[in-house]
Symmetry: C2
Subunit: 244 residues, 2 copies
DNA sequence: GGCGGTAATTTGGAGCTCCAACTTTAGGCC
DNA sequence: GGCCTAAAGTTGGAGCTCCAAATTACCGCC
């Protein structure tokens, strides 16, 4: 479910419905997507909306179009490997005026143990006050802070983690019948009142692995989801700017 | 210049022309882009093509649309901080079958001194046999190689570089009147014969800083450009999949 | 059964139009 | 000069249509 209100553009309704089917597996990799003509009938929309929906899904990398044949769910949707993606769709320094410290992009992070606040606990689907790791990042470009991020993970997931722990986690996820993990990344713009991007509603049975609050030095909202399929862990990246 | 042939879709002609003006500075940040109506007249195209061109440029992050007002060159186009972006638009492991080494995304790299081959020298605009640094990367997701990259940089640009050297480089670039650096990233797909993505033609007067050859474990072509403006160094990311 | 040619689908480019919501401008009034 | 209103312009959603190129399906023929 993508939390698309009925007042939203109709093409987004189509996008959300197809995306849901891809994410929850009703439309497995390789499965054909209804053609333009079929979509207009199925959803009762015009061809413009149907085309636009397909274009958006293709831009997101969830489907591919083959001329003369049709659209198909990608063999593997663009699931991006986790943990290296905090920079994805980053943007340019803005209004920062710290003394330049060089010409390189640098980043600092500090992990520290913490207890899950009710808010975080709910998103991570942990008990309240459960041990979590809080990681604070400062990303700099040419010395200017580009991005400030605070990330929360269940304890035992941090950077210096043994293979044992990792395997245990995977087992924990599989054994619990958890299929997919989604992460809601709240993106704040640079305007005084932080405006949150639309949060993705969580499908039933998923497990949130990682919550990230990011203060961007920019203004281009992005939605990302961290997805866990037992044995695989990836991040799915949506970009609002793909939609218009 | 974007190497858009006359046989290409007309909307790409418009995109290429406007993008060129943004990149070379004719259209400075904040400058208004001609409206839909004006574009149809100026380029002699239909409104569909004009709209599509604006949408592509907006998806690339080069311009923003404001309802009721117009499209404007972004205050700072989405120039992404350099050197942390080798993962951008990465994709999922494919067909790799090395023993799993854990659940994390890891990466190894090794920098080594080398001499510029004619090929590399030409792209980096160095003399033949000039000292360069070759960096080989192996990115792994869950132990499976996701991306193999070989990157070439002028010597003295490598990871462990003193602030002195960095400043010297910036000076070198500024004093030479070099304005923008573009990097051509050649993306190979997983099919036997690597099919290169369209290379961006290099504008006159630019300086190539960094050449990267990437073997992806996927099939979604991406174009990236590393851009140097004296004092700033960013990477501009295009994605083919934004266009359709 | 196998082959070949034709017809039906499907994508992606391109054109046109209408409209709601919003911004900007211009003009008129006090 | 300052304020308010109305008109004009612009974006983004949505509709429809036509067409070229490519793929797929089918049917008849050998």
């Amino acid at each position: 479910m993508d939390h698309v209100a009925s007042s939203d553009p109709v093409y987004l309704r189509v996008v959300a419905d197809i995306r849901r089917q891809i994410v929850d597996g009703s439309l497995p990799p390789g499965a054909p997507i209804p053609s333009r003509a079929q979509l207009t009938r199925k959803y009762g929309v015009g061809e413009t909306a149907a085309r636009h929906a397909l274009r958006v899904l293709a831009a997101e990398g969830l489907i591919v179009g083959r001329v003369g044949s049709g659209h198909y769910v990608r063999a593997r949707p663009v699931l991006l490997p986790l943990y290296r993606w905090r920079f994805h769709d980053n943007r340019v320094p803005f209004g920062a005026d710290l003394p330049s410290q060089g010409a390189r992009t640098t980043w600092d992070w500090r992990a520290e143990p913490a207890e899950a606040t009710p808010d975080i606990a709910q998103r991570l689907r942990l008990k309240e006050s459960a041990p979590v790791t809080r990681i604070r990042y400062v990303f700099r470009g040419d010395g200017k802070p580009v991005q400030l991020a605070t990330s929360y993970e269940p304890a035992g997931l941090g950077e210096p983690v043994s293979d044992e722990t990792q395997r245990a986690l995977i087992n924990r996820i599989s054994s619990a019948g958890m299929k997919i993990t989604e992460v809601v990344e709240e993106v704040y713009t640079r305007v005084p009142q932080p405006s949150e991007s639309d949060a993705l509603a969580l499908p039933a049975g998923v497990h949130v692995l990682h919550v990230e609050r990011t203060h961007w030095a920019g203004d281009r909202p992005v939605e990302t989801s961290d997805i866990v399929i037992p044995g695989d862990r990836f991040r799915l990246v949506y970009s609002h700017s793909l939609h218009p």
